[in-house]
């Protein structure tokens, strides 16, 4: 096989895996949208917040240290202990659950039956809040997140594939990032579990009902409050997963919240309401943007990935306005 060809395969494979990383973030969006019709802008910030909390627990940081020091004039920074990873994850999960409850109590409860754009706006307000709050709580410096997950190319795959090309073609073997592989596994597991949950359980059906019509859902006795807590808690869990995967790559700091922007085209392409759509969308976007950057990028100066992902999604949408797997947009009079 020619090296060119193998490189293309490599790009495609890596695109697929990167796409799965996007899907992890997109899943959180889909969950909340599917379950309440809310386009949750704060999903990215939630991922950041979850990851910050995880690192905070791991490193034994004192929450609000900066504020406490400023107000009381003290000099505290840490508890001086390090929490085992598992325990830290559990604690972070508990925090996300608490967060879900508070969001419902303080915000959503008052916004029943509002138009989608109003709810969207409220989540933007929430994002603002959480951004400031997360920084206040954990500080805005960069933190390394070590969950003990392997990273870097898999030697085994490289060694296995290096012989596929001619000796002197300069082919190193396929590069596959181990972290990406793990993320892919996690994402697939999540998708399977969540799809089953939303499609085949009583609560899952209620989730979809709420998304369609808040009032009608109330009228048949579905407790919006309960449903919202459930979905936001699950979304918080997904945010934690996404936040820690991405955090392992880039460190945990503010920019982590911007991964939401990479998830949006995925969401759009897969359909806002489809959990499997998030994965398929991620794969298409991942491959599409990587291939474009690989093949066309050098001709136009590169850095095309950000916009190309959106344009790609846009092209799909023109043919399928509800995304690949999204719920049909019912147009009737």
């Amino acid at each position: 096989m020619s090296a060119e060809f193998l490189y293309t395969i490599e790009v495609i494979l890596n695109g697929l895996l990167t796409g799965v990383m996007y899907s992890l973030v997109a899943l959180g969006f889909v969950l909340i949208f599917k379950a309440s019709g809310i386009f949750n802008y704060s999903q990215g910030v939630m991922a950041l917040f979850a990851a910050l909390t995880l690192v905070g627990f791991q490193d034994g940081q004192v929450p609000f240290a900066e504020l406490i020091n400023a107000v009381l004039g003290t000099e505290i920074h840490g508890f001086g202990w390090e929490m085992p990873t598992i325990l830290a994850i559990l604690c972070a999960l508990a925090v996300m659950l608490l967060f879900a409850i508070l969001v419902e109590r303080i915000i959503l409860k008052h916004l029943v039956n509002q138009e989608p754009i109003i709810l969207f706006m409220a989540t933007i307000g929430l994002a603002y809040f959480l951004e400031g709050f997360g920084d206040l709580m954990w500080g805005s410096d960069i933190k390394a997140l070590d969950l003990g997950l392997p990273q870097g190319g898999s030697f085994w795959i490289e060694d296995m594939t290096v012989s596929w090309a001619a000796e002197d073609s300069g082919f190193y073997g396929m590069y596959i990032d181990k972290l990406d592989l793990i993320a892919a596994g996690v994402a697939v597991a999540l998708v399977v579990a969540l799809t089953a949950f939303s499609q085949y359980t009583r609560i899952g059906r209620a989730l979809r009902a709420v998304a369609d019509d808040h009032q009608a859902a109330l009228s048949v006795g579905i407790s919006l409050r309960f449903i919202w807590v459930v979905t936001w808690a699950i979304a918080g869990f997904v945010a934690l997963v996404a936040g820690s995967m991405w955090g392992a790559k880039s460190g945990v700091q503010f920019s982590l919240s911007l991964i939401a922007l990479k998830a949006l085209p995925v969401l759009m392409l897969g359909g806002f309401t489809s959990i499997p759509g998030a994965i398929v969308g991620g794969l298409i976007i991942g491959v599409g943007e990587k291939l474009f950057e690989f093949a066309i990028g050098p001709m136009v100066g590169g850095a095309t990935e950000n916009w190309f992902a959106y344009v790609l999604a846009l092209i799909f949408l023109v043919f399928r306005p509800q995304g690949l797997f999204g719920d049909k947009i019912i147009e009737r009079v």
Binding site: I142, L256, I259
Partner: protein, 407 residues
């Protein structure tokens, strides 16, 4: 009191880089106030204004502070610098964009109010090439250099210089743009893996740096051939990559570490008294040292201005004049408790960017320290000089400025 604004960014996407700098700058000023009662009998009043690295907020800070007799603005962002150059020049307040901002503003004939000490991006690019050349035994003929850059005005700065230099030294240059914020760089690094450049230079910023270093480690690119510009070489950039970052290099214009007498004094006179600007943990970090460097330049200029005018309460115009004639000798560095901290410098009417010198530092991941691995170098004037001349003259023409002669 002497008012020195500090447009810091302790929040937002670049906070990890902004925090240590802000700490260093303020701590040094506090030290002077505590130890010497300020400069020339006047206490220094650092007016912090949070920009979050955002241009609009930067402009607001400028407008809020310009009425309070500020001596000099240090914008802390290339974007803000571009805003301030015309404004501050009109208002008669010097702008010190310390190794960032508009490179051609180093030409004092055109940009009377702008200072770039200790050097420009073009200096940096040229010195990095020089270093690579030394490593390769004096020639880069037939070598490949890849530039990974932040897709913004800042990131594009070195391209022209590197292109000129490639003509001169015969290497080929591959440019790889990374879009803001740069969380995802798989394509770029796969390409690097494919093309196997001999060197990778990086003009990165924020999260892009740490991701790039992580990716480089992932593809097992030899880290000692991976050199970042000075804004891509601080603790925040290498720490997230952990052990993988070991051996990563970057250019710098001052020594790393906290091994200076002045730092001891900062610890005892500032930190121990609870007057630290931050939480006191950033001391000795690259960013911190940069803050100290900026503070030294400012205070030395104040001192010079006080000496030149004979009064302690100087104005922004005095400050400008002092900047233009600023001299800091090696002895002076030692005198202020920072021996060999940075190179001696001598600014002039035409050259606002002295001393134009840099050295390469390398990261040791196990000890979590930077160490200098080269001597201080000078840039290739032959290449950089004409570029600066061309760009600054274009600006002058566009804005109807008649350059000074600087006799």
């Amino acid at each position: 009191d002497l008012n020195v604004p500090a447009l810091n960014y302790r929040t937002g996407p670049y906070a990890p880089s902004g925090i240590p700098y802000a700490d260093g700058f303020s701590d040094y000023m506090t030290l002077l106030n505590e130890r010497d009662g300020g400069v020339g009998g006047e206490r220094i009043n650092v007016m912090e204004c949070e920009t979050a690295y955002n241009t609009q907020k930067g402009v607001e800070c400028y407008e809020a502070l310009k009425g309070e007799n500020p001596l000099v603005f240090i914008p802390q962002s290339t974007g803000i610098t571009y805003q301030l150059i015309p404004k501050a020049s009109a208002d008669g307040i010097p702008v010190h964009s310390m190794a960032y901002g508009r490179t051609s503003a180093v030409n004092g004939k055109v940009f009377e109010w702008v200072f770039i000490m200790p050097g420009t991006y073009w200096d940096a690019a040229s010195m990095m090439v020089k270093y690579a050349m030394e490593q390769e035994g004096g020639s880069l003929e037939g070598k490949k250099i890849a530039l990974v850059y932040h897709n913004s005005a800042y990131g594009k700065e070195p391209i022209r210089t590197l292109e000129e230099l490639s003509k001169k030294h015969g290497y080929t240059l591959t440019q790889l743009a990374v879009d803001h914020p740069g969380q995802e760089q798989k394509s770029q690094w796969l390409q690097i893996r494919r093309e196997r450049p001999d060197y990778v230079f990086m003009w990165g910023w924020g999260v892009m740096n740490s991701v790039a270093i992580q990716e480089a480690a992932n593809i097992r690119f030899p880290m000692d051939k991976f050199i970042g510009v000075w804004w891509s070489g601080s603790e925040a950039d290498v720490l997230p990559a952990g052990a993988g970052a070991d051996g990563y290099k970057s250019i710098t214009w001052h020594k790393p570490g906290a091994d200076f007498p002045a730092y001891e004094q900062i610890k005892t006179l500032v930190h121990d008294k609870g007057k630290a600007a931050g939480d006191g943990t950033t001391i000795g970090e690259v960013g911190y040292n940069r803050g100290v460097y900026a503070a030294v330049i400012v205070t030395e200029a104040i001192k010079a201005a006080q000496e030149a005018t004979g009064k302690s309460n100087i104005t922004a115009a005095d400050m400008r004049d002092a900047y233009e004639t600023l001299t800091i000798t090696a002895e002076r560095w030692a005198e202020i408790g920072l021996p060999e901290f940075a190179q001696p410098l001598q600014a002039s009417c035409a050259d606002h960017g002295a001393p134009h010198m840099g050295a390469i530092q390398q990261w040791n991941a196990s000890e979590k320290t930077w160490t200098l691995v080269s001597d201080f170098m000078t840039p290739d004037e032959e290449v950089v000089g004409p570029l600066i001349e061309e760009d600054s003259m274009a600006y002058a023409a566009e804005n109807n400025i008649t350059p000074r002669t600087c006799e």
